[in-house]
Amino acid sequence: MSLAVAIPVAISAIQALLKYRGKVDEILALKEASQEIPFHLPPAPVNFKEQRKDVLKFFASDEGRLALELRGETAEYNAFAADALGASLAMKTKYVQLYCDLSDTSPVVVGPEAEARSVKASSKMRLSYYVVASHRLSRNPALTRLLLASADTLLEVGGANAGLFLSNPKTQAVVSTLIDEFAGKRDFDDDSSEMLLKSMLRSVVVAAMEHPEVLPDRPAVSALLGALTDLREAKGDDFVASIMTMPGFQGLVGSYLTKIVEDPALMEGAGEFRPILSATLKDLGENFEKVFKDPKALFGVLEVAVTAATGQAPAILAREINGKPLMSAVLLAVLKEVETQGSQNKLFKSAANGELLSGLYQATLGAVTANAGALADEAKINVLTATLISSVAGVFAKKELSDVLSRQTLLDVAAKSLEVLSANSGALARNSAFTTALLAGVLSAGASAIEDGLSADDVAHVLDTAIVTATANLASVTIPVPLESLLTALGGQLSEKGVRSLLQPESRADVIISTLHAVSQNPKVWSQFGKADLVEPLMTAVFAGLASDPTSLLTGPVMVEAAQAVLEATARRGWALLNDKANADDLSKLIKMGLKMLDTELGQGVDARNVPTYLTSLVEAYLEEPIELASIAAKAFRDLHAETMKLI
């Protein structure tokens, strides 16, 4: 039976009930009076008829007679036995019990077998065996029960402010929607409706009271209420109740209550977002039980969904991929890929829940909606998802990371990285392969720094800067620079003892950025270095060379500047290396010899300020016209050094 009155009238009635609380108490007390409570049935009698022969036989035996004699009951028993069937029930019962006590057996009791299996179960089940239910004393049709349930809940949670809560137009609108969804459109005749209504109303009131100053006129919570109602139809009350009773549901309601809806068409009644939510929850419940039953994962995903929805045009949200709303299709693609990667990487599988999952969803959804025109089809979504998630999973598979970082640190770093990718949705959308390779490379390069204390926030900052830097020069994106292997090689150098002792974790992070700057100055040459397998040898050469510094000038920011300068110079004159006029070992030797020379000239025009310039000029001059690097005493080198010193 649906509601007999319009919702506004129901709201007024609830307000009236709140006003006259005594009456509410009376009505509820009457309801309580007809609650089920336990009562024992009368005990059943001993079955004397069935046991009579055994009793008589026993007391005719020596043992039985002796027992009677010892009790002084021989005469009484004999009188009983003479006409057992005609004896009083008290005597029959007495001798059956005595027989059982002496023969160590149990009396046979008339009636069904000893109380049911439920009695052996939990105390709750035992109690339920004995309760006697009662019809209601008052006739409370569905409408009255709805009003009472609402008033009772508002009083319970809102207390003295219950009336004010309902008078506030913003919260009144939410309560109206709730009543409409849970009672106006459905039968309110069963207990589960009442329980669900009260639970949902409780959540809404608590959430509203936690955020009284930020309640918008059009909160997204209406879509959540609507989606839950849809699910009641499709999946039943228990499905919905299981969502509402998860830890964190209150927080979700609060989040939806305070999300300001820009476009009412998105959220109200027949808005676009409601079926998206319904479809998402339904799919998760049916196909991804593990995620569905993980509150952090489930609610994380739903929060991402509402954030994405409130920032998007309805046209995008309305898109369908194979009959599913876009947001649901993306989520399913993410979950499937997570499962695939998880089957190949145990560490990733154990980490890919809760925060990480919502981060993956947010990053992917952000990219798809940033470029819906190009990406909103199943195949492209699958490619994007596979690229992103395999990259993130790869983080957990990299030995240089998983060997040195704890699982939690990896998780924190991965989660922060996903936040950065979400903030750079455009870059991810335009070239996911490049961006995700950059992610993997930056994390590899930063492994030693993270191990030595670089925070997840710092890593995120590095990654963010890296993306901005690397994508500022479009050529870096389109030309196939082996960024990941370059950064991995860099990471190897940054974790070497010599370099590590010269650079704090923050400075090592700066080196990563400066290296990317250097690469973006000459992407084509670095691409050629990659093809010629020169990247790793060159990185080793440069940093081994710099780390040999005897002057003690190359530390911190100076080292950062020097590394960038030398790398830029190496690429500027990269022709020599690419055409075998010089090699990486030569480069390393050159830098070492140069620094040794500088060490002998400290105080003669050399300081931290001009070392990077010296090294740049030295490398450029050498690569322009390579010489034999015999020793620092050799004339050729001394001449080269002298020419270089003139330039600083």
Partner: protein
């Protein structure tokens, strides 16, 4: 024209009154507490077994806290409300279950008086109404049980027959339209099963001049069947507890008794 201040005044008055109450729905809360107390004390009570005297625990009044709470409730909120009527019946049933026949009889006039306030607004004979209606017979039957277990040789099959026949007659007089559905109210099934158990006592107490087992079993079936649903009767024919997928909860014991009666031929 209504004054704007009147709703504010009423609200303020309500708040002031409620400031003295532990909760905003004080009567309801007190009733809930009584039910909780009763359930806790009930769980510790031993039902009188064959050949047992009332235990020391029973002698000490095992429902002491519940009974005190009931008295307090009536003193505070009055004894002439429908909730008070419910509590009077509960009080009576407390004495019945704990084998305190004397106290139970003492309460009989009050329980019978409470009966008039216990039919539902729709005219349905609720659990408490039926308990009150059959209260004298319940007291008689339970007293006889306690008597036999205490060794009273004067208790005869007639004592049990009187109780059982009394319940059977009163239940038969409840019109069909006043009977609640089986899954809503179990008062009738409880009383009918009580009558069945009293019939079984009568059968065992028979000294040779009673109606006979077959007749008593027939009467038992006759009193219980109308208070079971068709599904429950079908399940009893199948052996009750063996019926697949059935989970009777609080109705299980009535269905099991009916299945037992069917097996007696």
């Amino acid at each position: 024209m209504k004054s704007r201040s009147l709703p504010l005044l009423l609200s303020a008055l309500a708040v002031l009154l409620l400031a003295n109450c532990s909760t905003f729905v004080a009567k309801t809360y007190q009733l809930e507490q009584i039910h909780e107390m009763y359930t806790t004390e009930w769980a510790k009570v031993e039902v009188p077994k064959p050949s047992s005297s009332p235990t020391a625990a029973q002698a000490r009044n095992p429902f002491g806290a519940t009974l005190q709470a009931i008295r307090n409730y009536k003193a505070r909120y009055g004894a002439d409300t429908r909730e008070a009527a419910h509590l009077t019946v509960l009080e009576g049933m407390i004495h019945v279950q704990s084998g305190a026949a004397g106290m139970a009889r003492l309460l009989e006039p009050e329980v019978l008086k409470a009966k008039d306030r216990l039919k539902s607004s729709g005219g349905v004979a609720t659990r408490d109404y039926l308990f009150a209606e059959c209260y004298p017979e319940l007291v008689d039957g339970w007293s006889a049980v306690v008597g036999v277990n205490a060794g009273d040789t004067s208790v005869s099959d007639n004592d049990f027959l009187k109780a059982a026949d009394g319940i059977r007659g009163k239940l038969a007089r409840i019109k069909p339209e006043a009977r609640a559905l089986a899954d809503v109210d179990s008062g009738g099934a409880y009383l009918a099963t009580s009558a069945v158990i009293f019939y079984m006592w009568a059968d065992q107490a028979d000294r040779g001049n009673g109606p006979g087992t077959a007749a008593l079993v027939a009467k038992s079936r006759e009193v219980l069947a109308p208070w079971l649903s068709p599904a429950e009767i079908a399940a009893a024919k199948n052996g009750s507890s063996n019926s697949p997928g059935m989970n009777w909860g609080s109705r299980e014991r009535y269905v099991d008794w009916y299945a037992f009666l069917l097996k007696q031929g």
